[in-house]
Symmetry: C2
Subunit: 237 residues, 2 copies
């Protein structure tokens, strides 16, 4: 079955966490909004009054008649379908718990450049963004990245869960990639203190399908329109 992947066409954003799972799985999918007329198709769907289970926002995935929204929920679905999560109840819940913790980190990353309001421009909240970024880099990023390091240390296999790759491993790659782009100086220091997290990033990007994807034009570059944004003034503040 060919999946239809729905997300904004110009940014990695939350959609990228889903794409990495689709790519690692070698799944057949189309990125609807990057096709001709696809953006209109997505907006018509979001606004349609006939959808019984409407997504609140992109990303969402269509798998035949099934519509799955919310990043972590899509990964829960794909994890089971494509062997990117354990089969046991305990393993599935632990994998999902890790993903939800990474999702909390992603929210806090977004808040570094949009502390005062989702709907306002960064330029209208630069001072507040500098304050929030300061706290994020000093307190929150080390706490989250330190947590991932702890989980890797206790599991002892180089992966977050069990003995092979699961979907939150892919998300750790994306988080490290994004943080390196947004806060290069802070991440150099964080990387030194958290070698297992960096090793995991490197193992993920060495996977043949992920390596091919990341090297391709299909991977949208990081930018200051995404979740991870590089505003040098924030890191300096």
């Amino acid at each position: 079955m060919r999946y239809e992947f729905y997300y904004w066409p110009e940014i990695q954003g939350r959609g990228e966490f889903v794409r990495l799972a689709l790519e690692e799985a070698g799944a057949d999918y189309i990125y609807v909004a990057r096709r001709k007329g696809g953006m209109d198709k997505m907006m018509r769907f979001l606004e349609s009054a006939r959808v019984q289970t409407p997504p609140f926002a992109p990303p969402f995935l269509k798998a035949g008649k099934l519509i799955v929204g919310q990043t972590a929920n899509i990964l829960l679905f794909l994890g089971q379908k494509h062997g990117l999560a354990p089969k046991s109840e305990q393993g599935r819940l632990w994998t999902h718990q890790l993903q939800l913790t990474l999702a909390d980190l992603v929210v806090e990353v977004h808040d570094t450049h949009h502390p005062v309001g989702v709907g306002l421009y960064y330029e209208d909240q630069k001072d507040e963004a500098a304050r929030r970024t300061g706290e994020f880099l000093k307190e929150r990023a080390p706490k989250f990245i330190g947590y991932v390091e702890t989980v890797l240390k206790r599991n002892k296999t180089g992966w977050l869960v069990g003995r092979s790759l699961t979907y939150p491993d892919l998300s750790v790659f994306q988080v490290v990639s994004g943080l390196r782009y947004a806060f290069p100086k802070a991440m150099r220091k964080l990387a030194k203190d958290h070698p297992r997290v960096v090793e995991l990033h490197d193992k993920v990007v060495a996977r043949p399908r992920i390596a091919a994807y990341v090297a391709s034009k299909r991977r949208i570059p990081h930018s200051t329109d995404g979740i991870f944004r590089h505003y040098p003034e924030l890191e300096e503040a």
Copy 2:
């Protein structure tokens, strides 16, 4: 089996979403940190180096040897065990998707009083909190509550999913209860425009077990230490 529920002892917070499910299910559980020595027990567990699957933060639930963290993940677990979610894959995913969307709303509610930093006091970010609250009440709260209204309108049964109560219904009750406490004026207006959401709140609180729980001393009152905080100056700004 008796569950052990772990959360901070003095606030509703995220733990309340879990408690409501435990209460509706009539589950046997203890609220560890509200017992003598329980807070120490929770902190020792969080800091123990021997836990293979450590939670990032409370709330978490112990079910025998199983440890489940992250609010929405605990509800995913309880939903299956106690008939608070459909059995079909499609139904389970849709229910979880709704819960994750409500979790996004809860994050934004928290940000109204803590826009600049999780670790700072409200008093050190009052001006920013007023700006963020303004945007939240004007744009975000109506968008989220409007979404819940739409889902209820399309499902036509008075419940979010199918023909009976599921765990996100309990969370809608908590969100309405919290928003009414935090922003009473704004919620009076929102309630008028979203009658199905208010009806759902009323249906949930009329459930015998929920009614008994809410009337009991076991329900911790709303306060300005929780997620939903009543600072009159924010609503006036």
